[in-house]
């Protein structure tokens, strides 16, 4: 029983992981609040942490060729316990989709259309994602190459335009905060944007060879970390201590671009790129939900569930936060622990179970 259709290339998966991560630039304030002017380094320490997580996923995928996360659960823990695990993952993917949908809704309402109700924006956004998933996730993943070029050039062009405003002194003093802050920053980066690469364990079987998947995810993460580092460094060098005050430092620094009185007010371009990246991210998460749900209830096709899951994401995202302030508080305190439960604890449990099973089988033979 194969629910996924289509296949993707390894390169497309790298770019897909990159695009998936880049949208999270929007939430860079979570990191800058904690580690201030050293936040750029967190992109790289966080990368190390997330590579560790990816190694776990890769090990699981390697043991079960052409199986995705939900199928692996059932194979490892048996049909009953496996289903419990799968339900937990389903909840995680659904929450992530809802959180990200709420993020982009907040962004559009907060910065562009103050009077429009959040629901109107989220509804349209979710409809697009549902449409994209129904048409096949492989198409979206293939599209990632183009999106990647757009996102990269947006970051690079904006950075070059801002060179004029950069004050290198803002980077100093280097690494003077208490160690705990750096640990917190690293975990935040590793868990919040980068660990979400877990969703790609649902897509990896489309590669045909699960062996390659871990490597491709790692490449994608490295690429994403480099660009996250560039963006954070740029924001810190332009905004200085104000980077930790603004809700969206990267948006605010783009707003500051003013070149020769002509190249100003570039933020709307940046906003468009951001929204496209979020459509991509939520589509992947929605696909992970839908495919997982279809396997859980033994459907022959995941297509009929797309709209239902879309509706779930829509309503969930409406009440997932009461306010932006609550969101920021959650992002800086609880979110990493919440995410790591699903990104680290559950996959590690699966990996340990597999290894124990294997040793038992070896001993028996």
């Amino acid at each position: 029983m194969k629910l996924e259709k289509g296949s993707i290339s390894g390169r497309a998966l790298i770019f897909a992981v990159f695009c998936f991560m880049q949208g999270t630039m929007l939430r860079s304030a979570f990191i800058v609040v904690v580690t201030k002017n050293d936040s750029w380094a967190m992109a790289f320490t966080g990368l190390l942490g997330s590579l560790l997580l990816t190694a776990i996923y890769a090990a699981l995928l390697r043991r079960f060729q052409e199986k995705n996360l939900f199928e692996i659960n059932e194979l490892v823990f048996g049909p009953v316990v496996g289903k419990v695990f799968s339900v937990l993952y389903l909840f995680f993917f659904l929450s992530l989709a809802a959180l990200n949908t709420h993020d982009i809704g907040d962004f559009v309402v907060g910065y562009m259309m103050q009077e429009t109700p959040l629901a109107a924006i989220i509804l349209l956004f979710v409809l697009i994602c549902v449409y994209a998933v129904r048409k096949g996730i492989a198409n979206i993943v293939r599209l990632s190459t183009v999106l990647c070029i757009i996102a990269m050039s947006a970051v690079l062009i904006n950075t070059v335009l801002m060179l004029n405003e950069i004050q290198p002194g803002f980077i100093k003093p280097l690494f003077q905060l208490p160690l705990g802050k750096y640990v917190q920053g690293t975990i935040t980066v590793a868990a919040l944007p980068m660990g979400e690469v877990l969703a790609f364990t649902m897509i990896a079987p489309m590669l045909g060879k699960n062996k390659k998947a871990g490597k491709m995810m790692a490449y994608g993460l490295v690429l994403a970390a480099v660009f996250l580092g560039i963006v954070l460094l740029r924001d810190i060098l332009v905004l200085g201590p104000m980077a930790g005050v603004f809700r969206l430092p990267s948006y605010e620094s783009v707003r500051y671009v003013k070149l020769a009185g002509i190249l100003t007010r570039m933020e709307s371009l940046y906003a468009v790129v951001l929204i496209i990246l979020y459509v991509f991210k939520v589509s992947i998460l929605l696909y992970a939900c839908v495919l997982g749900l279809a396997q859980l209830v033994n459907f022959k096709s995941y297509q009929p569930l797309t709209l239902i899951c879309g509706a779930l994401v829509f309503f969930y995202s409406l009440f997932v936060y009461k306010s932006v302030m609550e969101h920021a508080d959650w992002g800086a305190t609880v979110a990493p622990i919440f995410s790591l439960t699903f990104e680290l604890v559950l996959p590690s449990a699966a990996l340990v179970a597999v290894s124990i099973k294997k040793t038992i089988r070896l001993r028996e033979t």
């Binding site: 429009t116 201590p241 605010e252």
Partner: protein, 411 residues
């Protein structure tokens, strides 16, 4: 089984004729198109250009009663904007702007009050300058700035100015070459790079200076003067802030001293009195840097380095200033001149006990551990702080001529 049966024909029709849609699908597609058209027009809270009051400048004064603020905004009147400079016939026509003011207990409540006196909604994205009167500045402007930093429409690259008298008067200056005082002042500020006698401060610069804790934020000052019966605005000096309150001023020379030391000076004209007469020098490139140096006993000194490169712009002495000895003499004099300007600023800053240069910030960046110890009594540290100045001036050229044109010079 049933599911498969229903699925197969659908796939089949698709294969045969991919373009055709059944009536239900067609209806859904039409509905979706309609939905998209509705949402793309984004007319939920649409704001057409002719319903906006585009704000170019904002001025904040004290109100008549204590605790009240008078907020004046300068709004473009688009119909009155003419292309090209105003001709003689247009003097009778209306101004290209309108100044609207309202008084209330805070900036935001005063701005809200505008809805009672204008039909258009204020649009702040194009606000270029923000002027506070000296009285407001002396009582503290941080609370008022918060609204401008927090709002989504306003930008961080709005220029901050302090007016010596009423801030609203500045927006009424009578100008000839421009149509709107706001544009005149904003562009005048941008042109200050050519004299380095005005600190060009945006809202972001001010906020950053304030956040550092030890640096005293500065903002340029503007005043009105009267010439030929016309009231005009002129940039003059710098206001110095501490704890968000204006505590003093720097004069024009002291402002340039600040600009030399902080590396913000670019171009400047310097007039040197030699024993034979005056020589004007144009500084084309200037660089400045500060570096804290820690002595063995743990005290700090600040090493200021200024490098300036320029040309002789005019020579009124009648002597040949392009000779090597004279060039060296001029270089020394310019170095002395720059040193005097910086020292004057330093002395004044110490009497105000306001670290306008950001020396404290420089120490924090390079010696964060030591900074933790001295930051508590930085004010007293600052007044005793020693500085070493290394000033290097290079006169690269004597303009288009070497010797001056004097009678009999050809012989």
């Amino acid at each position: 089984m049933k599911k498969n049966a229903s699925k197969a024909p659908a796939g089949k029709t698709k294969q045969e004729c991919p373009g055709a849609l059944n009536p239900v699908r067609r209806a859904v597609a039409a509905l979706l198109c309609a939905l998209m058209i509705l949402s793309l027009s984004s007319c939920w809270s649409r704001r057409e250009l002719n319903t906006l009051a585009i704000v170019l400048a904002t001025a904040v004064d004290e109100g008549k009663e204590s605790g009240e603020l008078k907020v004046t905004t300068q709004i473009v009147s688009p119909g009155e904007i003419k292309s090209g400079p105003s001709s003689s016939g247009s003097s009778a026509s209306k101004k290209a702007y309108a100044n609207i003011d309202n008084t209330d207990k805070s900036v935001i409540s005063a701005l809200d009050g505008f809805t009672h006196i204008t039909n258009r909604k204020m649009y702040f994205s194009h606000n270029r300058i923000l002027i506070f009167s000296r009285e407001v500045a002396q009582k503290g402007i941080l609370e008022d700035l918060d609204a401008f930093t927090r709002n989504y429409e306003t930008r961080m690259n709005v220029y901050l100015l302090i007016s010596k008298d009423k801030a609203a008067d500045i927006l009424d200056e009578e100008i000839e070459l421009e149509q709107m005082p706001a544009n005149h002042i904003a562009e005048m500020l941008e042109a200050q790079h050519s004299n380095s006698e005005t600190a060009i401060i945006t809202l972001l610069d001010f906020d950053i200076a304030f956040l550092s804790g030890s640096t005293a934020p500065v903002a340029p000052m503007i005043e009105m003067y009267e010439i030929d019966g016309k009231k005009k605005a002129r940039l003059e000096g710098t206001a110095v802030f501490k704890q968000g309150k204006m505590i003093g001023e720097l004069n024009v020379a002291q402002t340039r001293g600040l600009m030399w030391a902080t590396g913000k000076a670019e171009r400047a004209t310097i007039t040197i009195d030699t024993k034979d007469g005056k020589v004007d020098l144009l500084i084309i490139h200037a660089k400045g840097s500060m570096k804290p140096v820690k002595a063995e006993d743990g005290t700090f000194r600040i090493r200021l380095k200024v490098y300036a490169e320029g040309d002789i712009e005019s020579n009124e002495t009648g002597k040949d200033m392009s000779s090597v000895e004279n060039t060296e003499m001029l270089q020394e004099q310019v170095e002395e001149f720059i040193r005097a300007e910086i020292e004057s600023t330093l002395k004044h800053a110490k009497t105000l006990s306001a670290d306008v240069f950001g020396f404290g910030e420089a120490i924090r960046r390079d010696y964060p551990k030591d900074w933790e110890k001295i930051k508590e009594n930085w004010d007293s540290e600052f007044s005793g702080l020693k500085t070493d100045m290394e000033i290097d001036v290079k006169i690269a050229s004597s303009g288009e001529m070497g010797k001056p044109v004097v009678q009999g010079g050809a012989e």
